[in-house]
Subunit: 197 residues, 4 copies
């Protein structure tokens, strides 16, 4: 079997990405020490450099993989043949599930650093793009209120979801999971004043 060697290598690489996600999420890019990642991954420091040219490159891979996972989850929900309400609820549950499972990584992916790091934007941009498409698809269904600026609304939605989950993750006992999803969904749909159409 010629693949044994290669399989081991991929396994090591994968361990590094997981460990990187863990530690970068907890301490940020600058706050993370290469040695922490290596220890977490159970490999020697030098091993990181046989898989990635430098710390930054591993960070990028962590962000890329995280983005892929979160976007894939949303897209999978969008592909289901169910009514809009169900679909939105399922998408929301998917996002909440990801946040529950990956806590710190979820925050890392959706947050912004101090500067102009484009990586921190990519996930937000990608989700916003998906949402804009949804709005456009639903344009004539009457669900969407008239006068809505899709691009702006998408950003608002993402911000609302991220900040609510960020708060909730600090102490999940604050709200029941189902109440959380309902609050999120209702805010997104009706704001604080609006009544259903």
């Amino acid at each position: 079997m010629p693949g044994q060697r290669e399989k081991q290598k991929q396994e090591t690489r994968s361990r590094l990405v997981s460990a990187g996600a863990e530690v970068f999420a907890a301490r940020g890019l600058e706050g993370t020490r290469i040695s922490d990642i290596a220890r977490e991954a159970g490999v020697a420091m030098g091993t990181l450099y046989t898989h990635f040219p430098d710390k930054e490159a591993l960070f990028e891979e962590v962000m890329r993989a995280g983005k892929e996972t979160i976007i894939a989850g949303i897209e999978a929900t969008y592909a289901l043949d169910v009514d809009h309400e169900t679909r939105d609820r399922l998408a929301m549950e998917g996002v909440v599930g990801f946040a529950e499972t990956h806590g710190a990584l979820f925050r890392l992916l959706l947050s912004r650093g101090g500067g102009d790091d484009p990586l921190r934007r990519e996930v937000v941009d990608a989700i916003a793009t998906l949402r804009v498409k949804e709005f456009e698809d639903g344009r004539h269904s009457g669900r969407i209120r008239s006068g809505l600026d899709y691009e702006a609304a998408a950003r608002c939605e993402v911000g609302a979801v991220f900040h609510l989950l960020d708060w909730w993750l600090d102490d999940p006992s604050r709200m029941d999971r189902q109440d959380l999803i309902r609050a999120l969904s209702d805010f997104r749909r009706f704001g604080v004043e609006g009544s259903g159409a």
Copy 2:
């Protein structure tokens, strides 16, 4: 009489805080070098240590001062004797104005870093607290839809505002200032589906 000496000292301290806001906002806590702040403030590195015990303390002061400014602006608006709609619009205009003027600092104050930095939460918490109070005050006016979870809604509001402005600041030509404020206000009030009461 505070001597000329004392006035000079306060002037220097103030320059350090401004420079710190500038540089921390642009590069984050870890990404910022003491020497950068000193250069920006036009003083020697050592001078920083005659005003603050360490880098962290200056960062805290920058965050504290920023929080104070932004909260004071909102509270000032709340103190006005105008109708709710006007008040909300004025508060929003105040926040947009702050974001326009302080761009990077606005992001620094409202964003989250990777880890669990409590400083980055304080502003969000403070604004959320103000909003919850507003909701409670307006409980019987009928403006607020029934079933709204105030705490959750406050987080959603803050998230929506921050993310929309974060996006807008990247390229303010994206939307006219007035359209931005209206979009923000409408999303906050009606979400994407709701119609006014």
Copy 3:
């Protein structure tokens, strides 16, 4: 019968020595990476260690082989049954030929590093020894001027040849090959002032 296996092994070893000569000559002992030599030789890094105990040992072999080649060339010329003048010219042509063909290796063999690396001396010492013998052989022929310190003169000769060729190799268009050999030969024999006996 040396098996096919053994032949392959010698072939690999030889490729390593050639590659080592190339890379050590270009970048020096410390500046050379094992991986560079392996790549140049077209083998894996580990292979080097089945032929040599470490990097230093390969370096020694490169130096040893280079010394052998250059000394053998000079000795071959000395063995010819021709008059002294012809012999000296042929020896010089041999050295120039080696320098032309092996450029960087020639410099590596004849130069000195910063420290006290004895390897870098061996070639110079060996040639100097040959030259001293020549002087002694020719003692009574009258060719050699009286009062010459053989040992010192041999060092001067070697230095003159090496430095001139080092300069010439940088840009061989500087001098015609024949003029170079004549200049070298004349300097060695007559210095800058002396006239022929």
Copy 4:
């Protein structure tokens, strides 16, 4: 006195250059550890970086300063109003004196590394240029034998001097200092065969 601070700084810088000359000469650029230089100079490692951007820059300064010293010594001799023979002897004594005092540095300045380091050439080039000028100045005095290629002869001279001194420095008891200078001078003037004009 405003200069006290500055004087201290220059003193430190000067100590670093001296220590660098010592250690680089003994172990070469790659073989030298920053910590060795710092220890030799009696300062902390970081101090080196307040004076030079990196190790390479200190190396360059060492080479530059060494070149300046050695060239200045030769030029000073050339400025004397004495006959050629005296002058040449004095120049030679100056070079021997430098080699005696600075042993390892002398070798570092005049030697070549493995690769194409232009720094190692500068001193040789500079001395060669000086010698060519001397040959040209003395063109009509009849001292110089006809047919001499000045550029080539200059390189030969430098090589002869450097290699002889390199050998002598290994064990100065090999030759008496005066005999050394005479041997050097004679070889340079008459080669191994030539008789004085």
